[in-house]
């Protein structure tokens, strides 16, 4: 029973995929095709689940260990990981909350700033493109280089170690998500359908009209492209920035601490928690994208 409940999130995602695929392949979905789509949906759900269950069975029966040459100490059995999660639920939840706050706050600020930058670059291309080139260079800077710098810079922000660590971590996520969003926002605001801008001009549309009625709607799919990168990215940034943070809290930090202490089973419990968090956020994003972009693709 426990094993099956851990399979729920992929199920949720594949439902979303099935839904979007259906939208793409057939926007009208005639009633005659209903049954074919049901079969399609079923296999979309079934195949990954069967595959996952197979891996889990191999794992629990230790066949996987033999294939990989691992032992149950470094690769604990799924049952044991779940027991540890159940036993330490309040502590794990507390750490998960800290990580989620960092990831989501950073994502929010980063995406808003990034979109703003994209807008500025699209409105003032002369200076904006140069700025975006510089910003996109940030994309290539490893997080591990940024996290300790921001950590040192925010030392004076508050006397409470938790608060100032939180700020440093949020800043790391903000920086990283901002870059992704700004580049995609700029592309969405400028890569218009051929002649659509000329059409607007032939209507004698004002620049503000072109902006709000053509550019902004055009940028929405690009916005989701950016989020598809930055939602998982924000979780990973949060996890990595926790490694360097002063205050010991968060899922990422617990993974590291437990590995250092050679408590692999507990580390695995936190790894699973991190995976579930990422999957949950991604599922929410896909649901939002599915409902907002309905009929647009």
């Amino acid at each position: 029973m426990n094993l099956r409940s851990s399979m729920n999130p992929p199920e949720e995602i594949s439902v979303r995929i099935a839904a979007t695929q259906q939208d793409v392949s057939n926007p009208e979905a005639p009633a005659a095709d209903r049954r074919r789509f049901d079969a399609e949906n079923l296999t979309t759900l079934l195949y990954p689940i069967v595959f996952g269950v197979l891996i889990l069975i191999l794992w629990q029966t230790q066949v996987l260990h033999r294939i990989l040459g691992a032992d149950t100490f470094t690769l604990p059995l799924p049952g044991r990981i779940l027991t540890i999660i159940a036993d330490n639920a309040p502590e794990i939840l507390m750490n998960a909350r800290a990580t989620a706050i960092v990831a989501l706050t950073g994502l929010l600020f980063g995406s808003m700033l990034g979109y703003l930058l994209g807008v500025i670059a699209a409105v003032f291309p002369k200076w904006g493109i140069g700025g975006l080139t510089v910003v996109s260079a940030f994309n290539a800077i490893p997080i591990i280089a940024v996290a300790p710098i921001l950590n040192n810079l925010t030392k004076d922000f508050s006397r409470d170690a938790d608060t100032r660590s939180m700020l440093a971590k949020i800043l790391v996520v903000t920086l990283m998500t901002m870059v992704v969003m700004s580049i995609n926002a700029y592309r969405g605001l400028t890569e218009l359908k051929p002649y659509s801008e000329d059409l607007m001009k032939s209507y004698a549309a004002r620049r503000t009209d072109v902006f709000f009625k053509l550019r902004v709607p055009n940028s929405v799919p690009f916005l989701f492209t950016a989020l598809r990168v930055s939602v998982p990215g924000s979780v990973i940034c949060a996890l990595v920035s926790e490694y360097f943070a002063e205050y010991i809290v968060g899922v990422g930090r617990q993974i590291r601490e437990n590995i250092v202490l050679a408590q692999y089973a507990t580390a695995w419990a936190y790894i699973l928690t991190a995976c579930l968090m990422g999957i949950l956020l991604y599922a929410i994003l896909l649901a939002a994208e599915g409902s907002l972009l309905k009929g647009r693709r």
Binding site: P10, I13, S14, I17, T44, P48, F51, G52, L68, G69, A70, D71, T74, P125, K126, W127, G128, G130, G131, L132, T133, V134, S136, A137, N139, A140, I141, P142, I143, I144, A145, P148, I149, N152, L153, K155, I183, T190, E191, E197, R207, V210, V229, P232, V235, L239, V240, Y243, F244, I255, I259, Y264, A267, W268, Y270, I271, C275, M277, I279, Y282
Partner: protein
């Protein structure tokens, strides 16, 4: 259009932005220098970092700070490079398989997303336990990080081929192989390179991150040692700048390879890297 003048003005804009960033850094450094007892730990002046690169003072008995950084960078980057190439190849093949066979796509797609969620450092000990070799685990983790963006982007490239083009290929009775060779694979190349551009810096990040987990050589090991003040803090600052520069260069290296691989597309396509081609709304 005067492409040369436009390009120049864009270069100028970039240059001015870089200058502005340097100015902000220096202002911050000046402020920190006045308020902190050990300003080099928080935000040193840029010239101090440059100075430390050229300093001939031996830091650990036999090497200067910059020699340490370079020697360790070689170790880390070699692993990142091998992992990157492996990951790119696997990613492309998987995308191809997913597009060829619906079943593979259905099985693999949800897991492709989940792989991205697994924190890399968490996977390091398990990979280490399997391979019993820190070098191999660095390569494998860099490969895993590369493989995901490449696979998803390439798959998106296959899906983005307009239906009319596919229909045309069917109308002229092109074989499946021909469709892939002449339509699908050429049109997914820009997407493939997008994936490479995303993952090249990530592979480097992964390699450095795995370094921090264990002793031995590598940029990550030196970074954490320097942060713990086991050696001069300027080793840390040099690594920060070196990893940033290498990350950026790796991105541009992919653009250069893309240009060489698909020059005709490059000529027409509007790209952010090539601001000269962007049209200003007149």
């Amino acid at each position: 259009m005067e492409p040369n003048r436009k390009q120049d003005s864009n270069r100028l804009a970039t240059f001015v932005w870089v200058l502005a960033l340097i100015l902000i850094w220096e202002l911050g450094a000046t402020l920190v220098a006045q308020t902190k007892r050990t300003p080099e730990n928080v935000l040193p002046h840029l010239y101090q970092i440059v100075e430390s690169v050229f300093s001939t003072k031996l830091v650990n008995g036999s090497q200067t700070a910059f020699q340490i950084v370079l020697a360790n960078a070689g170790i880390t980057l070699a692993r990142a490079g091998i992992g990157f190439m492996l990951g790119a190849a696997i990613g492309f093949l998987l995308a191809l398989l997913m597009n060829l066979m619906k079943t593979v796509e259905k099985i693999a797609f949800p897991y492709l997303m989940i792989i991205q969620m697994i924190p890399i450092l968490g996977m390091a000990p398990i990979v280490l336990a399997v391979t019993k070799d820190i070098d191999k685990s660095r390569v494998i983790i860099a490969a895993i990080l590369t493989f995901y963006p490449v696979a998803t982007n390439t798959l998106a490239g296959f899906k983005a081929v307009p239906g009319e083009k596919l229909e045309l290929m069917h109308v002229i009775a092109a074989s499946k192989f021909e469709i892939y060779r002449k339509l699908l694979i050429p049109s997914c190349i820009p997407y493939f390179f997008t994936g490479l551009k995303v993952s090249a810096p990530m592979a480097i990040t992964a390699s450095i991150l795995v370094d921090t987990l264990q002793g031995g050589g590598g940029l990550g090991t030196m970074l954490s040692q320097s942060l713990k003040h086991a050696m001069t803090i300027y080793v840390f600052w040099q690594i920060v700048f070196l990893s940033a520069i290498v990350g950026i260069l790796s991105y541009h290296l992919m653009s250069v390879i893309e240009k060489l691989a698909a020059p005709h597309r490059w000529a027409r396509k509007v790209k952010l890297d090539e601001p000269a081609q962007l049209d200003e709304p007149a």
